[in-house]
Symmetry: C2
Subunit: 251 residues, 2 copies
DNA sequence: CACTGCGGTGAACACCGTTAACAGTTAACG
DNA sequence: CGTTAACTGTTAACGGTGTTCACCGCAGTG
């Protein structure tokens, strides 16, 4: 938790970065790169301290100069992966200047699936592991949590932009019920002031997208479908219609 | 892989179960019960060979007389958990003789969620871990796989019964597209001869249910909802409507 | 009876995360 | 400048893991 308090203070006070600091940052990056490589090659259990250390010709205890524990390393890795995924989706979203908001929504949805299928181990680490706690104890925000929020914000922001551009039909009150209505209303600010029925649809979009990708990556769909790609596309069209988007027809 | 070949052959040949065999089966059950207990108390990492052995006053190597490896024990545990979950859902489904098929579908959906929330560690073990392979290599069906099929069959069977009783409106061809249409048609036999558009809806039912429960159990919904119960109920009503069921209104 | 094999043991191997004690380099300060 | 402190690395060691081996006692059987 307090691995290098003094260094952080100094770094916060003076923006100056000495040679030591630069080399240290480089080593940290090298460690995370090695951990990432091991994760890709052998999954999470392959990311051991000794394995990472061996990857850059160090001894295992040396890593404790950079990370407080094995768990800290994994957490840092998770945060990095979130950021990488977020950057990838943003780059994908802005890749086609002619794409409207709806098309952008489709693009990042497909992009998330592509990334998940291309990096199953990383995806499982980010989304398959149980998130420890929301904000119950001292609401200590892990770097991973913050990165996860930045990631989710990409979707939330885009959905709200879609709604503000052309409000889609909200889910009816009879469907939600009073309790859910109240909960959604409470979170309205987070969704750019959308009404509860619209927040519900935005949440549905995310829930279904997450579920689909999870099932496919975790191989939970093999029994029913040989190639889940077409199914994913159809589901995406269905969700898009609910958001008032004109979806491209099935090819 | 071939832990006790001779014993299996003998057991297959003669149904007679000697006292030894009975005691052996009892010990196996005891081991799995201890493993289960440790899983509940401390999650998967708490299920160690030495810990299990300690639970019943044995040495760790003794367990190798009953399970070929730690992984085998976990696999057996997974299979048992699938069977337990399946039994629970069946019992729940048949608990109310007055319930029609649609109500039964709601009951097992809610039952699955309840079980998942009550046993998050077990749920993560069953559905959060990546299923190794569908049937690519020698399609060696693990006991866990078979148990998983029995579990899934409960849902498939009930959905098909619902459809045969009162066919719900199939998803339109334009939504599916030719490729998905062909894939679904191929799997029609598995779904009791339902048309592709109906199989698609049945699959959607399962996909959304899985995604919802996964997200909630893995804590991936905390940022948006304080209590996911109401959201789950609304989603269930929405899915039920797609299956032509008259859903109870939100309370 | 002798014999076979099952169920158990403790010792040992290789690995893991982690800590402690120690040494060399490097930056900072009087 | 020299002294000192911090930083970065080492090796040794502790307790933990899954796993294998050699051994041993006892039940069941020919």
């Amino acid at each position: 938790m307090e691995g290098e308090s003094r260094r952080d203070q100094q770094q916060a006070a003076t923006v100056a970065e000495s040679r030591r600091d630069r080399q240290r940052a480089a080593t940290v990056a090298e460690i995370k790169a090695a951990a990432r490589k091991l994760l890709v090659e052998g999954g999470l259990p392959a990311v051991g301290l000794r394995a990472v250390a061996r990857e850059l010709g160090l001894s295992a205890p040396a890593l404790y100069r950079y990370f407080g524990s094995h768990e800290d390393l994994i957490s840092a890795l998770i945060a990095d992966l979130y950021d990488e995924l977020t950057a990838y989706l943003i780059q994908l979203r802005d890749s086609d200047p002619a794409a409207d908001l709806g098309e952008q929504l489709f693009m990042i949805a497909g992009g998330l699936r592509d990334w998940a299928l291309a990096h199953p181990a990383e995806f499982g680490l980010l989304f398959g592991a149980p998130v420890p706690d929301p904000l119950d104890p001292g609401h200590e925000l892990t770097a991973g949590h913050q990165a996860a929020m930045r990631f989710g914000a990409v979707f939330v922001e885009l959905v709200t932009k879609v709604w503000h551009q052309q409000p889609f039909e909200s889910a009816p009150v009879e469907l939600l019920g009073p309790e859910l209505q109240a909960q959604l209303e409470q979170k309205a600010a987070f969704f750019g002031g959308m009404p509860p029925g619209a927040v519900y649809l935005a949440l549905t979009y995310w829930t279904r997208l997450y579920g689909l990708i999870c099932m496919e990556v975790f191989g939970q769909l093999h029994w029913a479908l040989d190639d889940a790609g077409a199914y994913f596309a159809a589901q995406l069209r269905e969700i898009g219609e609910a958001l008032g988007l004109d979806c491209p027809p099935a090819d």
